[in-house]
């Protein structure tokens, strides 16, 4: 992996920009301009990155990730850290490249947390898989805007996007906007989005065994979010889950 000099996005977005439709534009303006962080994964190489935000993390990150032919890139993101948070991933996949994203968005209070992905399959035989799980409590908003763009050259593309959100109470919001733009004719693109509440029957089952309701909700929420951590090695997943649990229990 090599880094190339960073560039800046200089024009302030407006509500008309699709990628900003659910955003807090006033908050975004306070953090403007945003440096685009280039990430290059050379052909045949493997790159894995874990991003966990906290209160001190930059409000907005914009990563431009270029995955070379036959290279594999995996991002795991736990985004819960600040009042306004946005992570944008702009991913370009070349011939036979693979991109995996597992992302957890946790919003509480007045937080606005958004994930915006654009995955461009510019060469043939590339695969991408995005699993995003979100939980929103209080008056928080979590948003996922995910675009998969398959160029004319992107034959045999295998792309999937799965977004599921749980709202812990009325007043919380989840937005989902999966989008496909396909110019090749031999591709497999799957996308799904679901927004719901915790399963009441499961909740009753847990409390009927003596687990206090706040703890039961945290347990069910964590189980729901853990989909996004599939495929990580056990220690890494356990460490992230411990962080998520602490976060959820603090929200309860």
């Amino acid at each position: 992996m090599t880094a190339i000099p960073e560039t800046r996005v200089s024009v302030l977005p407006t509500r008309k920009d699709e990628a900003w439709r659910y955003s807090d534009l006033a908050a975004a303006a306070r953090h403007w301009p945003v440096a685009v962080e280039p990430v290059v994964v050379p052909a045949g190489e493997t790159h894995a990155q874990i991003i966990v935000t906290d209160a001190a993390s930059p409000a907005i990150r914009h990563l431009a990730i270029n995955v070379g032919a036959g290279a594999a890139c995996r991002y795991t993101i736990i985004d819960n850290g600040r009042d306004y948070g946005r992570i944008a991933l702009d991913v370009t996949l070349h011939d036979g490249a693979d991109f995996q994203l597992g992302c957890v968005l946790i919003g509480h209070g007045e937080q606005k947390i958004e994930l915006v992905t654009t995955v461009r399959h510019v060469g043939p035989n590339a695969s991408s898989r995005q699993i995003v799980r979100a939980v929103a409590g209080g008056a928080a908003t979590t948003s996922y805007l995910g675009q998969v763009a398959v160029a004319r050259e992107g034959q045999k593309t295998d792309a999937s996007q799965s977004f599921k959100a749980i709202l812990l109470n009325r007043g919380a919001t989840a937005n989902a906007k999966p989008e496909l733009e396909i110019f090749a004719d031999d591709v497999k693109c799957a996308h799904g989005a679901a927004i719901g509440e915790l399963d009441r029957q499961a909740l009753f089952y847990l409390v009927s065994r003596g687990i206090p309701p706040e703890q039961a909700r945290a347990l069910l929420t964590r189980a729901f979010l853990s989909d996004a951590l599939g495929g990580l090695d056990e220690d890494a997943a356990a460490a992230l889950e411990a962080g998520i649990t602490a976060r959820l229990e603090a929200m309860a």
Binding site: D199, R200, Q201, A202, F204, Y205, L206, V207, S208, R209, G210, I211, P212, P213, Q215, A216, L219, L220, R222, A223, F224, S226, D227
Partner: protein, 246 residues
Amino acid sequence: MLIIDNLHAEVDGKPILKGLSLTVNAGEVHAIMGPNGAGKSTLSYVLAGRDGYDVTGGSVSFRGEDLLAKAPHERATAGLFLGLQYPVEIPGVSNLLFLRTALNAQRTLRGEPEASGAEFMKLAKAAAEKLGLPFDMMKRAVNQGFSGGEKKRNEMVQMHILQPWLAVLDETDSGLDIDALRVVSDGINAMRGPDHAALLITHYQRLLDYVVPDHIHVLMDGRIVHSGGPELAHKLEAEGYSAIAA
């Protein structure tokens, strides 16, 4: 241990329990039988404190305390266990994590020290072995992919680990083949003792051949209409509920 006095309860504004009274002493096993819609499952949910089951009159005392004043998890901690007719599947939560969390939550609320990992594993292994549940299934997500019989065995495993004073078992025998029925019955019998009690809610007399109750009650239209000894089960099977109630 359990004193239910003139209990009235409704679901969605519809009265289901209409003055039910029942006393279960420590060491006793009671069975409640009755036709569909009599209020058997409602009774079990009211005792466990499920949302949507509203008590409109009467009282329930459990080990000297007002059961109805407690939240569901406090009732469990006080020693009440509800074995569900349809145990719930919980994806992403392993059986072991679920049980360890439950056991330690109860212990914490009672002011007792939590079970260590090793102590819990010992309890879990012993319970699974006794109830014929492969230990591998303890590592899987709660009830996910379990057969009907395995789900009921899992309820029994939970009961053995949590060691409640009173087990309310709602149609624990439904959906069981003969072998599973025997294992589950052995599980209930193994909990019998001078300090423990059970309330079996069932449609059929079959379970009562294996777990012989001290008392049998017939529940119809929200009330106990007839009570008797273990011989009542066969009489009910032969003559039907209406004949007994008349």
